[in-house]
Symmetry: C2
Subunit: 362 residues, 2 copies
Amino acid sequence: MRGILIKGNREKAEHFIREVKGKEPIFLCVIGSSEVGKIPGISAAGKNPEFTDYTPPADVELLLYGKCKCISGIPVTPEGIPTPAIITMSALELANIPVFIVNGGVRVKPHVPFIDLGGTHGDDIRKGSAVANVEEVIERARLVGKMFAKSSDYLVIGESMPGGTTTALAVMLAMGVDAVGKVSSSMPSNPHELKLKVVNEGMKAINIRFGDLKNDPIKALSHLGDPMLTAFSGLILGAGEEVPILMAGGTQMAAILAVVKAMNDKVLRNLYLGTTRWIVQDRTSDLLGIVRQIHDLGILVANLNFSPSKYEGLRVYEKGFVKEGVGAGGAAIAAILKSRGKITPKVLFERIERNYERLIGI
Amino acid sequence: MRGILIKGNREKAEHFIREVKGKEPIFLCVIGSSEVGKIPGISAAGKNPEFTDYTPPADVELLLYGKCKCISGIPVTPEGIPTPAIITMSALELANIPVFIVNGGVRVKPHVPFIDLGGTHGDDIRKGSAVANVEEVIERARLVGKMFAKSSDYLVIGESMPGGTTTALAVMLAMGVDAVGKVSSSMPSNPHELKLKVVNEGMKAINIRFGDLKNDPIKALSHLGDPMLTAFSGLILGAGEEVPILMAGGTQMAAILAVVKAMNDKVLRNLYLGTTRWIVQDRTSDLLGIVRQIHDLGILVANLNFSPSKYEGLRVYEKGFVKEGVGAGGAAIAAILKSRGKITPKVLFERIERNYERLIGI
């Protein structure tokens, strides 16, 4: 299919394309926030660390209203580069794909309707403390997943979770997935050492080593995870036996994959990964190398190209800024597939550029 | 269609049946609570007035989990008669219809996932104070309705709102619908005088008379309504231009009809009412007489019959106890229609009786 590159297991990815082409997906965006996002240097999802609490609600306000409510303007990195939610919003809008927000646990509630799972803002994993009520949140997310599986042909699930690659790294190391130096970052200079330092402090705080929690994903999420990973895993556990799911994101998806594999490997056959070319071409991370350790997944890659943009804020995506987030790659893929290719990467790009102009006020 | 009686506009009701037979609905249950539910003698949705705060969360826990979590047992009237949520749960279960909970504003949050609209528990309308942020809740509910309209062939919307017929009466009188002595009750001895006294106090508190708010539904809801009426109206405003909606309930539905008619009469062509035989046969209320004043609606009536039941708690439905609630009638109709009549009232009754046995612990 034009505009979609294939990685990972080619046969599975092509099967997914055949199966869902022209069908009706529902897009879910899982949000969470945590104290990890506020460790200086960890996250670029917000113009400064304290601001990261506002990024997930602002992202989903953008998806539902086409503008933010809890902040003026839109979320940007410290360099002023706009949130990938612009991509997601443009894709969902063009393909008329319904979107629901699932709140895994945030400090700042979005000014839009959201599905509440009783989850709370995540703690600082350096203390060995992350998510208060993992089992309860997973149980509720499972029910939500089950209901959405009955209401759609397939699901596309994205996320907004500042600091999320660090908690993903922590969960993966605890569960025996070698992701050191391999998780992605919204910054081109990926702060691997800082992330690993944070993770090591957390593992030390609960006295575990690499792989010790291989069969205890609940403990891994409770002490080293985040609200998004928790809720996202629950959604997959609830829906994954019934319908195909396109996990829309970068290396955080691998942590979710490890969790759900440990909890119910029957869902694996329905899972696919949807991401952006900027992620798979990134030399500072290794999505494919992580995923391969967990499961032989079909991976679909949205072949977006921002180099023709009139705007520096979009052109820099080609230089490795931002790269992915808020399910941008998966939403683009879903728009292409739902329209049977009528929505091309070029059509997407033009809409993204128009939305960018409107939102930045050019 | 066997098991469904028709009232109101026959042609429209038959059109609905033809249009949605075999199709895939989504069931939404809107919950709310208020201080009105706690006025002694107003509501039988709870074994005592203070308990009414627990009835909506317990009802929706039953729908999603098949058992209550926030209380032991299930909601009952002061006489010990079980909640109509048993009917709804049985119908949705049999027909495999997805259900989502929409929280209009409750004091006690359910232990299940729910869609949050930023609404709060309703006040006491005797003070002329009811819902804090009507416009915000309607706006968010509208978005939710829009998304569900994209995800399903049609919607069935029910409610759990103790004291709800009193606030419905208040909104209708404020908006010029003569509902005096005509709203329903979960008690066979309908406390019309008490309800009217409460409503009159509220109208006096804000210095209005019958019909003064005919064109101001926002004000009617703010001062005399409840969180359920508010959220339910918003859902219809969001979905009603796109898909058919079966409003599942009794006389409260008429208040919603008046509100949405005043806000956007284009949705009326997609609205239908689904209720129970116990409501339309009730001599203490007059659903058809109220609805007729607002719009010539197609009305579908679930012809359930509990007289063969082994259990007194179900047989008394035939004597006018409970009658309707939690979208029981509409859920039964949706189950019959989705199954193209394979699920008959008898099949429903048998499942209801089995669930009753399990829940009451017989």
